[in-house]
């Protein structure tokens, strides 16, 4: 390598199109991939490290960009999104559920994230259990969908395409966690929801006669942001991250090693015996620092929805 070239690389950054980067380093799997034609060309940054490693990184996509249907079906390459919910730290305030509903314009007759007041046996104290979609690795819902409207992506997320859904509701019957909800009537989305335009990655604007559920906020993850629920939890009880990175982050900006967290805190998954392999882990509700459900000063888990939900 000539001195000029080395200086050029070191002095700054070579900004090249994805295709150019691919031509430069064809050997390295994902970085060598040319950007797909209909995706906005991600700016690639080429740099030389002090160790002499030549690296290419892609700039994060802007929030405005709409993933192509191909990207929506495949997910974010190389990722395995995962969530850990610390039941010992959940005080049942319901902010996660409310923020989720607000961000996704979820109507009041349903919840994408529902907080259950659980009690495992008569002797143990009750605890709050926020229940998003578990994005199972063996999803019963995706198994039974007759048209592939609900699908499992390579990055672990299970999504619904409401432009294909025929409204048979088999997925709702199949989900053992009762996660899925349905647009029974004509949707009444606010202008903000319709303005953005539809993508399965955010699930609105809604369509009558189609199913919907928690989507793990893949549009947020594409921008490197935590899902709404994880980002707002006042207790930092919801961790989210990439299993491939072996790390999860919470609303307090703490980032910890996923495998260590699961190991040290004896994590479990809901109804493990069903074999659905959820991508959401729970940390047991031990050594809590807040009133248990029903005790004086306890929160209500955002369960004030009355008769509208059933």
């Amino acid at each position: 390598m000539s001195m000029e070239r080395r200086e050029f690389l070191r002095s700054g950054l070579l900004v090249a199109g994805g295709a150019a980067a691919g031509a430069l380093i064809p050997a390295h799997g994902d970085v060598a991939e040319p950007a797909t034609s209909n995706a906005p060309a991600a700016a690639a940054t080429l740099a030389l490290t002090p160790d002499g490693d030549l690296v290419v990184t892609h700039a994060p996509r802007g929030a405005s960009a709409r993933p192509t249907s191909e990207e929506v079906r495949r997910g974010v390459p190389g990722r395995k999104w995962v969530m850990v919910i610390d039941l010992a730290n959940c005080d049942g305030c319901g902010v996660c559920s409310m923020t989720c509903a607000k961000s996704h314009f979820v109507p009041s007759d349903r919840q994408w994230l529902r907080v259950f007041r659980m009690q495992d046996d008569p002797a143990s104290t009750p605890y709050w259990m926020p229940r998003p979609c578990f994005h199972c690795d063996d999803p019963p819902c995706a198994r039974v969908c007759p048209v592939g409207a609900t699908f499992k992506r390579d990055d672990g997320i299970v999504l619904i395409d409401n432009e294909r859904c025929i409204g048979c509701r088999f997925c709702m019957a199949a989900c053992p966690y009762s996660v899925r909800t349905f647009n029974w009537g004509r949707p009444n989305d606010p202008p903000a929801a319709t303005a953005r335009g539809y993508s399965p990655e955010w699930g609105y604007p809604r369509r009558v006669g189609t199913a919907e559920k928690c989507d793990f906020c893949p549009d947020m993850a594409r921008d490197g942001k935590l899902p709404h629920c994880a980002g707002v939890c006042p207790m930092g009880a919801i961790w989210f991250g990439d299993e491939n990175e072996d790390a999860v982050t919470n609303s307090r900006g703490e980032t910890v090693q996923l495998s260590k967290l699961l190991r040290d805190r004896a994590a479990f998954r809901e109804l493990e015996e069903l074999g659905t392999k959820p991508r959401v882990y729970y940390l047991p509700p031990d050594n809590r620092h807040y009133p248990a459900p029903g005790e004086p000063g306890a929160q209500n888990g955002n369960q004030s929805h009355g008769v509208e939900q059933r």
Binding site: A44, V144, V147, T249
Partner: protein, 655 residues
């Protein structure tokens, strides 16, 4: 003069011929113009169907919100109707096919009605699924994007196969009646178009040995193949429930339980239909008490079989007492939940029919009919009890979320259900206005059987080879999505070191070996001179934040170090973005350096690790092979039957 006693009485061919003519005259009489009562009957049915159509339009405009189904109880009356009508459709198979295969002589006046029930029940049942859909406008997606991993596709395939088969079966068995009908219609001065219809449908059938032979072949093949097809249909319907993990549904006996229940309700339905037609068309001479009694014995056997299956299903879950099963059983049997319906169903659907049928001396026409009507009511309730209570008993109790799921059919659902029953009866009535509701030729055949020589020896049928046409069906199988390779990976950008701070404090970060140990070393300098006593935090960048590796204080040479992290996943080739950030003293906080370096674990990028899992876009190969194999067997038999019909229509005129 009845067909039964006639068979015994007839001694010579002449007598038989005379009696056969009488049968013909009597049965054709059912096609006479509609009377006043008939007009009221048809008018009311049309009105109810019209009302239901209006209700459906209202539902299409407003969505399924007009039903009482909600997120917990997401299936309701429409699914109940669907399962019920598919069950009724088994009447045709059992009575007609099984009795034909076993050559039971008493079947003859019953077969036509049974086969017609099958066709109409399937039409109505199939429509219920479309009515239940949130997006009936997208029904074609089942073909365009169909996934054979879904039991709904199994349903679609097997119901389509069944409806084709039962239409074919109904038609084949009607062919010998067609020339008789054409002749009678012509003689009665009916419209030439009706005469023409009968003639076309007759395929030129005449009483020749060649025609008879081909007919017997076609009918024999259809009677055999339609039995497994019917069994498959109700098995598949049960699997829509059985393949989920829900308590009350996830049962291995569901398929046979549903099939038995289907034959049970189908037999009850045919007895009810027989009684109605007997009264309406004055068929007392043909539909004898003997027919009802034989069917009643069959019904009794099915009652016990059904009771046995029900006991087996409930006893097993009751005795096992898993938490979710107990919740379901408490809801079913308890006074607060479905107790009244549940115990009512055991009486109506089992104990009362058993009591009515079990004593031979008490087996009157009235009690047989009562039992049949009760069974049909009971079977509808059973389908309802299978669907709704289970949906009210989710694994995560709704009560834990402060929610009480409940369901009762809305006025729209009730109207549409009434319309479904009315449509079923209307189709049946209209059919009976155009085609004789009893098979003329088979009933007459009973008379001729008394003559010594069997007219047409039965032969074993050879199955025809599969036709290419069968393959057309496979076009409906889902298109296989092609896997695509990864596009550009999105990771946070930036790899630059060192970074300057005001005051010209700099921090340099590198990986180095110190005392044989793999270390991360940060060197803090101010205007080129090393700074001691600075707290440096080391971390590695993750998507949503920086994961702390450790902290260290700089020594006199300005260096701080922590062990290089082992086993931390990097990108696809193992690169890590490592950060060093000054944490103390306060005036230097925020000074940082970021370096991308190798040393992490390469992240294995898996592209669709399970390309043929049940949830994947593409189905398991064994599943495709099984479905194709079964379809090939059935449709090649259909092709053989059609081949016989074509051959029949090409038989040369004799003499």
């Amino acid at each position: 003069m009845s067909a039964m006693t006639l068979a015994v009485r007839a001694e010579g061919a002449d007598t038989a011929q005379f009696e056969a003519d009488a049968v013909r005259r009597d049965l054709l009489a059912t096609l006479h113009p509609i009377g006043a009562i008939g007009r009221v009957w048809i008018g009311s049915l049309v009105a109810i169907v019209g009302l239901a159509a209006a209700a459906w339009i209202y539902q299409l405009v407003n969505g399924l919100r007009v039903t009482d189904m909600r997120n917990y109880v997401s299936w309701g009356t429409y699914m109940t109707d669907f399962v019920f009508f598919i069950g009724i459709s088994h009447a045709g198979t059992l009575i007609s096919a099984i009795l034909r295969v076993t050559n039971a002589g008493w079947r003859r006046p019953i077969t036509r009605m049974a086969e017609a029930i099958t066709v109409f029940a399937l039409l109505v049942g199939g429509s219920m699924v479309v009515i239940d859909m949130g997006r009936p406008d997208r029904v074609l997606n089942l073909v365009l994007h169909g996934r054979v991993q879904s039991p709904i596709l199994w349903d679609l395939i097997s119901v389509a196969t069944y409806i084709t088969g039962s239409l074919l079966y109904l038609y084949v068995a009607m062919i010998p009646d067609m020339p008789i009908l054409a002749e009678a219609a012509r003689a009665a001065g009916r419209s030439p178009r009706l005469v023409r219809l009968y003639e076309v449908l007759s395929l030129g059938f005449r009483e020749t040995p060649e025609h008879r032979r081909r007919l017997a072949r076609a009918l024999g093949a259809m009677a055999v193949i339609i039995i497994p097809v019917a069994v498959s249909v109700h098995s598949v319907v049960s699997w829509v429930f059985g393949m989920t993990l829900r308590p009350g549904w996830h049962s291995t006996i569901f398929a046979p339980y549903f099939v038995i229940g289907a034959i049970y309700s189908g037999t009850a339905a045919i007895i009810t239909a027989m009684a109605l037609f007997r009264r309406a068309y004055h068929l007392e001479q043909y539909l004898l008490p003997e027919h009802f009694r034989r069917l009643a014995m069959l019904l009794l056997a099915l009652t016990m079989l059904y009771g046995y299956f029900t006991l087996s299903e409930f006893l097993t879950t009751w005795y096992g007492r898993t938490a979710t099963d107990v919740r379901l059983l408490d809801l079913l049997g308890g006074g607060a939940g479905f107790g009244l319906v549940f115990w009512g169903w055991t009486v109506v659907g089992f104990f009362a029919p058993l009591a009515l049928l079990v004593f031979p001396s008490r087996r009157s026409l009235a009690s047989i009919l009562t039992a049949s009507v009760l069974i049909n009511v009971g079977m509808w309730l059973e389908r309802y009890l299978i669907i709704i209570p289970t949906l009210e008993t989710p694994f995560l109790p709704a009560s834990a979320a402060g929610i009480k799921p409940h369901y009762f059919p809305s006025i729209i659902e009730i109207t549409i259900t009434a319309g479904a029953f009315a449509a079923f009866m209307l189709l049946f009535t209209l059919f009976s206005r155009v085609f004789p509701i009893l098979s003329i030729w088979e009933t007459a055949e009973a008379a001729e059987e008394a003559s010594p020589a069997p007219a047409y020896p039965e032969r074993r049928h050879r199955m025809a080879p599969a036709t290419i046409g069968v393959l057309l069906l496979f076009g409906a199988l889902p298109s296989v999505a092609t896997a695509h390779r990864a596009s550009g990976q999105v990771t946070p950008a930036g790899a630059a070191a060192p970074v300057a701070r005001p005051g010209n404090t700099q921090i340099a970060l590198k990986r180095a070996s110190e005392d044989g140990q793999d270390m991360l070393v940060a060197t803090v300098t101010a205007d080129g001179r090393p700074l001691a006593g600075v707290t440096v935090g080391f971390s590695v960048a993750r998507t949503f934040g920086n994961m702390t590796l450790g902290t260290d204080q700089t020594l006199s040479d300005g260096s701080a170090a922590v062990a290089f992290p082992k086993g931390v996943p990097g990108d696809s080739i193992g690169r890590l973005r490592v950060l060093a950030t000054v944490q103390a003293p306060a005036e230097l906080v925020g000074t940082n350096a970021t370096v991308t370096m190798s040393g992490g674990l390469p992240t294995r990028v898996t592209n669709e690790s399970q390309p043929r899992a049940l949830w994947s876009a593409r189905p398991p190969l064994a599943m495709i092979a099984t479905i194709l194999g079964l379809l090939l067997c059935v449709w090649s038999t259909y092709a053989f039957v059609v081949g016989q019909l074509i051959a029949m229509s090409h038989v040369k005129q004799e003499g």
